[in-house]
């Protein structure tokens, strides 16, 4: 046990109550100087709420915050910043249209004669970023740089402003391996400088790579704080989920394609400028995975199959009968369903209740003149809230207030309610926590066993391998490979994607 004075930041008995839910229940948290402290928990466990209480974005309802041993009470993020607590969020909260230097010094630009001294500002910006081994043109617009560089700029600004505590909220969510390495180098250097760093993430490998201690929250309560080195991965997952997870991902590869005839047959299906014409067969009770890098045509494939973009070539048949996929409405009539990648933009109807969100697709298919009665909607919503374990205080809660994983389950419920034969899932597990992740994978396998045909798009290759009997590989908006049976391995998928590099390199 370290003495109290070695903690740069400690929170004691933090309470936060939202209407209808206790988001934090007497949570203790302490951060030592020069440590990286991972804050973990499922979606909705209270990680973000705790961080927001610490940074003053939320007013806590109880508890004390000690900074360097003295009690503080930040009323907003600005005050927290002045006290020494800086935060960098997943979606970089900088202004993309300003230059790098302007972003670094926004609100405190060096002035001369009352005007912004751009030369001085740029000089200081270069000096600041050189500490991070970042040699970029600080007069260029921030949007010209990759998310990783933007992330570093955000960290540089936060550290420069605050300097005691740095909170990183899912900083690696949209970075590739190389960029994560760059970020971690910087984090280690800041740690040596004595900063206390709070690191929130869903990636457990990264937790083990960088963190010194781990604090786990569950349902707004503190589960415990442990030394990372002394906490086996399995125990950590048990802490996070509060139960023994039956295998992190599925029960093993099925690989073998189900017997039976091809049910859905697409020939030369495509649309100019979106996806080159492709052939695709899907059997009853089969999961076909789609893999490829971002922008390779994965989402475009999903949209054209569902009629969100109309195909301008090719044919689609089910059991030899031509399918009308000219619009989502037509596709739904053919018993298709589609969970889009961007839940917030394409999926949820934020202001409407969980109940209405679940009933929407079924109601739309029945038509306006045949309303589902309130009783039917209630039964439908209650059924799926129970069946999919959607965590919500009640079915009338606006869906935007739910956490990402629960929103995803509600969108799934919307489609399951229409009893589809063909379901397209675009990144069904993106941005959701381990528990919901495993549940959704289990659900995919269940649906498949019930005889549904599924197309699942995912960038998590292990996941694809676990449940797909075949995997299509996309590259440059074309289907370039199809792996089946024994060949469905992560290695083979990576190879098929990488085979493109010859062309991409030119």
């Amino acid at each position: 046990m370290q003495s109290a004075s070695s903690y740069v930041l400690s929170a004691v008995g933090i309470d936060k109550v939202f209407p209808g839910a206790r988001a934090l229940d007497r949570v203790d948290f302490s951060l030592a100087r020069g440590e990286v402290h991972a804050l973990l928990g499922e979606n909705g466990a209270g990680k973000s709420t705790l961080v927001k209480c610490l940074t003053g974005a939320y007013r806590r309802d109880g508890g004390r915050i000690l900074l360097d041993g003295g009690e503080v009470d930040p009323r907003d993020t600005l005050e927290a910043q002045k006290l020494g607590i800086g935060t960098v969020y997943q979606e970089v909260n900088l202004l993309a249209n300003l230059t790098v230097a302007e972003n670094l010094f926004l609100g405190r630009q060096p002035r001369r004669f009352g005007l912004v001294d751009a030369r001085e500002m740029n000089r200081r910006a270069r000096a600041l970023l050189s500490e991070y081994d970042l040699d970029i043109d600080v007069t260029a617009g921030l949007s010209a740089y990759s998310v990783a560089v933007q992330q570093v700029v955000a960290i540089a600004r936060a550290v420069d402003l605050s300097g005691k505590v740095l909170i990183l909220d899912e900083p690696t969510a949209s970075l590739d391996t190389h960029e994560v390495a760059l970020l971690f180098r910087i984090v280690r250097r800041l740690k040596e400088r004595g900063l206390g760093i709070v690191f929130i993430t869903h990636f457990l490998e990264q937790v083990y790579e960088i963190s010194d201690r781990i604090t786990v929250l569950r349902n707004g309560q503190l589960v415990g704080t442990r030394e990372t080195a002394a906490l086996p991965r399995r125990d950590l997952i048990a802490m996070m989920l509060g139960r023994e997870l039956v295998g992190e991902v599925g029960s093993g590869n099925r690989h073998a394609a189900p017997g039976g005839d091809v049910r859905y047959r697409f020939r030369g299906f495509g649309r100019k400028g979106h996806i080159r014409p492709f052939d695709l067969d899907v059997r009853t009770g089969e999961v076909v995975g789609i893999a490829g890098l971002l922008g390779s045509g994965r989402t475009e494939t999903a949209e054209i199959l569902f009629g969100a973009e109309r195909a301008d070539s090719g044919t689609a048949e089910a059991d030899g009968r031509p399918l009308d996929l000219s619009s989502p409405r037509a596709a739904i009539r053919e018993k298709f369903g589609f969970c889009p990648e961007d839940r917030k933009v394409d999926g949820i109807i934020g202001d409407l209740s969980v109940r209405e969100n679940i009933a929407l697709a079924l109601q739309a298919r029945r038509g306006w003149a045949r309303p589902l009665s309130r009783g039917e909607q209630d039964r439908l919503a209650d059924h799926y809230i129970r069946a999919l374990d959607i965590r919500t205080s009640d079915r009338e809660k606006p869906i935007r207030l739910l956490s990402g994983g629960n929103q995803q389950k509600a969108i799934l419920a919307r489609w399951l309610a229409t009893n589809p034969d063909f379901l397209i899932l675009d990144e069904p597990t993106r941005g959701i926590d381990v528990g919901a992740h495993a549940e959704i994978i289990r659900l995919i396998e269940e649906l498949c066993e019930k005889g549904m045909s599924l197309i699942v798009i995912s960038s998590e290759l292990e996941e694809l391998v676990a449940y797909s009997s075949r995997v299509l590989v996309l590259r440059d908006r074309a289907h370039v490979a199809e792996l089946a049976g024994e060949r469905v391995t992560t290695g083979a998928i990576v190879e098929a994607i990488a085979a493109s590099d010859g062309r991409a390199g030119t």
């Binding site: 989502p328 409405r329 889009p340 933009v345 394409d346 109807i349 202001d351």
Partner: protein, 342 residues
């Protein structure tokens, strides 16, 4: 079922309360305000006046509510009123029967709405611009129909719509009450209400869930056009003539205000036709009240603006969260009591 009713009551409470306060204040300044009397089988009194004078805005507010719920807005309703008034007068004076005149006029309004709807839904033009086109062009069209003059008529049937009475109530009141009730019932007893709200909150997500967003959008603007046509007939019948320049002038703004005072967000989504109708009555009560209270007319618009600002402040999310904050101890205690009762 009672839970739904309770939710409904909670939704309408601010509007009803605001209306009650305004009526009380007017009655203090003008003692005979609540007096009703019956002459020739028809009710008379200031309250009836408010219901009657408020008819055009109330009718426009019905369509406007639905359009705003789709995240749109319809600036053309005042101009459509003028067009439809002109069409009605032109038809009746050139010898068409009352039924034919009404059919043609209502058809004209629906056609205007179809035009707006096509611009918004098919060409994807921003609603404020799309409907501005007809707002500007509409008065010109109306003047072409009336050939620049005020077209008067004396068909008793048409006049009856403006100044007759039914079951003791003036016809305009009967029309907007019945029409408002009918639209509210159709929207809420079918799935239209939910589909419109889904469309208004997130058009793309609604489209991907199979909602026919295009058809719904066009239908919303057509309903708004129909409402404007009815309002136009009433306005023309009231003065027994079609005034292309002044019929419905600025009423689109009053209708939007009625919807906003009724608590429907301009960002689309959740809507209440009943609340908008009360909103229209609030506006008319303010108008009538200021006149009756004997303030110099110069003050009218300023007082009206002040009262509306006050109502909007009370409704603003910030003010409401402050209100929740003040009443929280009591609310949690009540919540606990409720849970224990279960």
């Amino acid at each position: 079922m009672s839970a739904t009713l309770k939710a409904y009551a909670r939704r309408l409470f601010p509007q009803v309360a605001a209306l009650a306060v305004i009526l009380l204040m007017v009655s203090l300044a003008f003692p005979g305000f609540f007096k009703l009397e019956i002459q020739n089988g028809r009710l008379y009194g200031s309250l009836i006046d408010i219901l009657n004078r408020g008819a055009p805005v109330a009718l426009l507010a019905i369509g406007m509510t639905v359009v705003i719920a789709t995240k749109g807005i319809d600036l053309s309703v005042g101009a459509v009123m003028a067009i439809c008034g002109a069409v009605a007068a032109a038809c009746i004076t050139s010898g068409y029967g009352l039924a034919a005149t009404l059919a043609i006029t209502l058809g004209t309004g629906v056609l205007c709405g179809l035009w707006n709807g096509l611009l918004v839904a098919v060409l994807d033009i921003q609603p404020i611009i799309a409907t501005l086109v007809l707002m500007v062009a509409g008065r010109g069209i109306a003047q072409l129909v009336t050939e620049g003059a005020i077209l008067t008529f004396n068909d008793p049937g048409l006049i009856f719509i403006g100044s007759g009475s039914f079951l003791g109530l003036p016809m305009p009141v009967v029309i907007w009450l019945v029409f408002g009730l009918a639209v509210a019932l159709v929207v809420r007893r079918t799935a239209l209400g939910m589909l419109i709200e889904a469309l208004g909150v997130n058009r793309r997500a609604a489209m991907l869930s199979g909602v026919s967003t295009g058809v719904l959008l066009i239908a919303a603007y057509m309903l708004s056009g129909l409402c404007a046509a009815i309002a136009g007939i009433i306005a023309a019948a009231d003065i027994r003539g079609a005034d292309a320049n002044n019929a419905g002038l600025w009423l689109e703004l009053d209708a939007i205000l009625a919807v906003v005072v009724g608590g429907t967000s301009l960002l689309g989504g959740r809507f209440s036709i009943a609340a908008s109708l009360i909103g229209a009555l609030i506006i008319q009560a303010i108008n009538t009240g200021i006149l009756l209270s004997g303030f110099p007319p110069e003050f009218n618009l300023i007082i009206k603006a002040a009262i509306i600002v006050l109502i909007l402040v009370i409704q603003s999310p910030r003010a409401q969260s402050a209100f929740v904050w003040f009443s929280r101890p009591r609310a949690t205690a009540a919540g606990k009591a409720g849970e224990e009762a279960k």
